[in-house]
């Protein structure tokens, strides 16, 4: 019996599982880490997630700027991961999600891994925008994305962000626009700001990822929010505190007071209900009461929104690149004018960096003035932006003609990497 392994091999996280399933069975960081300089043991992917103490973990990644640069390291990670899937590679096909415009040298290296090191039966290479489109179209068969058979996928990932038009289920390569900012740069920027202003956290990538995910949000009005962040005490609704692990009483960092941290969401008229914390947040809140807090904490205020702000105004960082809204406009403009209106009406957000609260609202505010008045602008957030690509892959892998789209091991052995790759329309 054959099955298809679906592998969304991101620079930040690998999402892996069996085609036809609703969700991937493994979501693990695509890296290895060494807990401290004294330790000699490198932990691989999922081992980092169960790590007791995330303090000062040195990381190595097989990806650099969104592309595979260290195949040997990738092999070690895949090796562990594929064993946990319990699907013998020699009788499995692989659906692999690769970054757009992958370099020929990286493609060759991947083909070697897939066929020579792991011995997969066959391979299909897909890109993320077309899979996201496929998934969204199948969810709403009567929706515009499905009827018009096109959409504009905005993928803000770990290494970069892409605005990609998709037409008839294919990514329109000549229309793709890339902004060289993603989750990794945002975490590093947050590390830089906090280290500058309070505690040195330059070595704390894992902890600062947690801080970013829990506390950062997108501002809808930067000058106004800077003014608010300037205020003292209770009037500053952005101020909150994160407690770093001390390695003794608590080995994970946590938000000191969730009610305080969520104040920014309460509108002036109090329409946002207070005290709605989920289970994990309540657990953290209880924790704080048990712990005798030392100085091992830092405050955040304007950093919370100045960090994601970079995606919208990279020029503020000194980068000579347009922000996300202009990225979308340029991607649309490189397509035929006939489909401009429908593209603006079917913008889909995916990727982990779109998870910041108020992301879609801000993008709309930035984009609306750049789009002709008589076009509608509609932005849809994916239900689970980290998994959307994988779910699309899972759908494709379970379609009846999937096997016929693959390159087989025999074909690879006969024709080599470059000729086989031509089949995937890249």
């Amino acid at each position: 019996m054959s099955c298809v392994v679906v592998l969304d091999n991101g620079g930040g996280y690998i999402k892996a599982g069996i085609g036809g399933d609703r969700d991937p069975s493994v979501v693990v960081p695509n890296c290895i880490g060494r807990p401290s300089a004294s330790s000699k043991k490198w932990l691989i992917a999922d081992q980092l997630q169960s790590l007791e103490d995330p303090t000062s973990v040195a990381l190595r990644r097989p990806f650099d700027r969104g592309y595979l640069t260290n195949p040997d390291l990738q092999k070690d990670i895949w090796d562990r991961l594929l064993r946990s899937l319990h699907s013998p590679t020699s009788s499995s096909s692989l659906l692999l999600v690769e970054p757009l415009f992958n370099l020929p040298s990286a493609q060759r290296a991947v083909d070697e891994l897939v066929f020579e090191d792991f011995g997969f039966r066959s391979l299909f290479v897909a890109d993320s925008p077309s899979l996201v489109h496929l998934y969204e179209a199948s969810r709403r068969p009567e929706g515009l994305v499905s009827r018009a058979r096109c959409s504009l996928v905005v993928d803000c990932g770990f290494s970069f962000s892409h605005a990609a038009p998709v037409l008839q289920n294919f990514t329109v390569n000549y229309g793709v626009k890339r902004l060289d900012l993603g989750g990794k740069a945002l975490t590093n920027y947050l590390k830089e700001l906090v280290s500058y202003r309070s505690v040195n956290v330059m070595d704390e990538t894992l902890i600062m990822d947690d801080v970013k995910e829990k506390l950062c949000f997108v501002s809808l009005d930067v000058p106004r929010d800077l003014q608010i962040a300037w205020k003292q005490g209770k009037n500053n609704k952005f101020k909150c505190t994160y407690v770093l692990p001390d390695g003794v009483t608590h080995t994970k960092g946590f938000v000191k007071d969730w009610d305080e941290a969520k104040r920014y969401l309460y509108s002036a008229d109090g329409s946002y209900e207070r005290g709605h914390l989920d289970a994990a947040e309540q657990l953290e809140d209880r924790k704080r009461n048990r712990i005798d807090l030392t100085k091992n904490e830092f405050n955040l205020s304007n950093e919370r929104f100045l960090v994601p702000e970079m995606l919208f105004r990279p020029a503020d960082l000194g980068m000579n690149q347009a922000g996300l809204a202009e990225c979308i406009v340029r991607a649309v403009n490189s397509c035929h004018p006939n489909i401009h209106p429908v593209l603006y009406e079917s913008i889909i957000l995916t990727g982990g960096s779109t998870l910041f609260p108020q992301f879609a609202e801000r993008l709309y505010n930035d984009l609306r003035p750049l789009v002709p008045d008589h076009y509608q602008v509609k932005i849809t957030k994916q239900e689970d932006p980290m998994l959307g690509v994988w779910r699309g892959g899972s759908l494709l892998a379970s379609s009846p003609d999937f096997e016929s789209m693959c390159v087989t091991k025999a074909e690879y052995e006969e024709f080599g990497s470059a000729r086989c790759r031509k089949r995937f329309f890249h």
Partner: protein, 192 residues
């Protein structure tokens, strides 16, 4: 697994710091602000900002010859580094480290079938500039410069709107108070 990272040939050591401070000195005569900014952008793509610089080199055969050799490489290449704004300092440094490494440790380098490379190296090797203009590629997908060149500046010390610039490194601050903090503790941090 042993102490060497799987698949990793890149070695970072206390020498990284030494070289970096030499770079800082070499750059003092050129456009510091530009360099500082590029180094800062480059740092946003690092995996371990702090750790890599101080990680102890636990290999036994790191010899003094190595260091002398590095010295020469760096000095001789100064003008190249300064002129080449596209390859920022860190990338260049890493390459220098690795090149000199290969010379002195050929045996080990030959063992590594697929030594890790930087993306910039792979990109240069791909020679995408040679593709005909209608072919979409990594280079052509870059979004390009913003249509408005206006840039907002935030104080690097406290984050508020910044109206002043440090004459030495070009970093922004909002007030005398933040200027003092900057001068005392942060100035030129990203070059040194």
């Amino acid at each position: 697994m042993d102490e060497e990272a799987p698949g990793s040939m890149r070695r970072t050591s206390s020498r990284t710091r030494k070289v970096a401070s030499k770079m800082a000195a070499a750059l003092a005569s050129s456009d510091n602000r530009m360099q500082a900014e590029l180094a800062r952008l480059e740092a946003l793509e690092n995996d371990n900002a702090g750790i890599e610089a101080v990680e102890v080199n636990d290999d036994d055969d790191a010899s003094l010859d190595d260091e002398d050799e590095l010295d020469v490489v760096i000095k001789g290449d100064n003008c190249v580094v300064i002129a080449d704004f596209h390859n920022s300092i860190a990338v260049h440094l890493k390459r220098q480290m690795k090149n000199s490494k290969r010379k002195t440790r050929q045996a080990k380098a030959l063992e590594a079938r697929k030594a890790p490379r930087t993306f910039m190296e792979l990109l240069q090797e791909a020679n995408l500039e040679a593709l005909p203009p209608h072919v979409p590629s990594y280079l052509r997908a870059a979004v390009g410069p913003p249509s408005s060149t206006s840039r907002r500046y935030f104080c690097t010390v406290c984050g508020f709107t910044a109206n002043y610039t440090c004459v030495r490194c070009g970093v922004r601050f909002c007030s005398i108070h933040c200027q003092v903090v900057h001068n005392d503790t942060r100035c030129l941090k990203f070059v040194a």
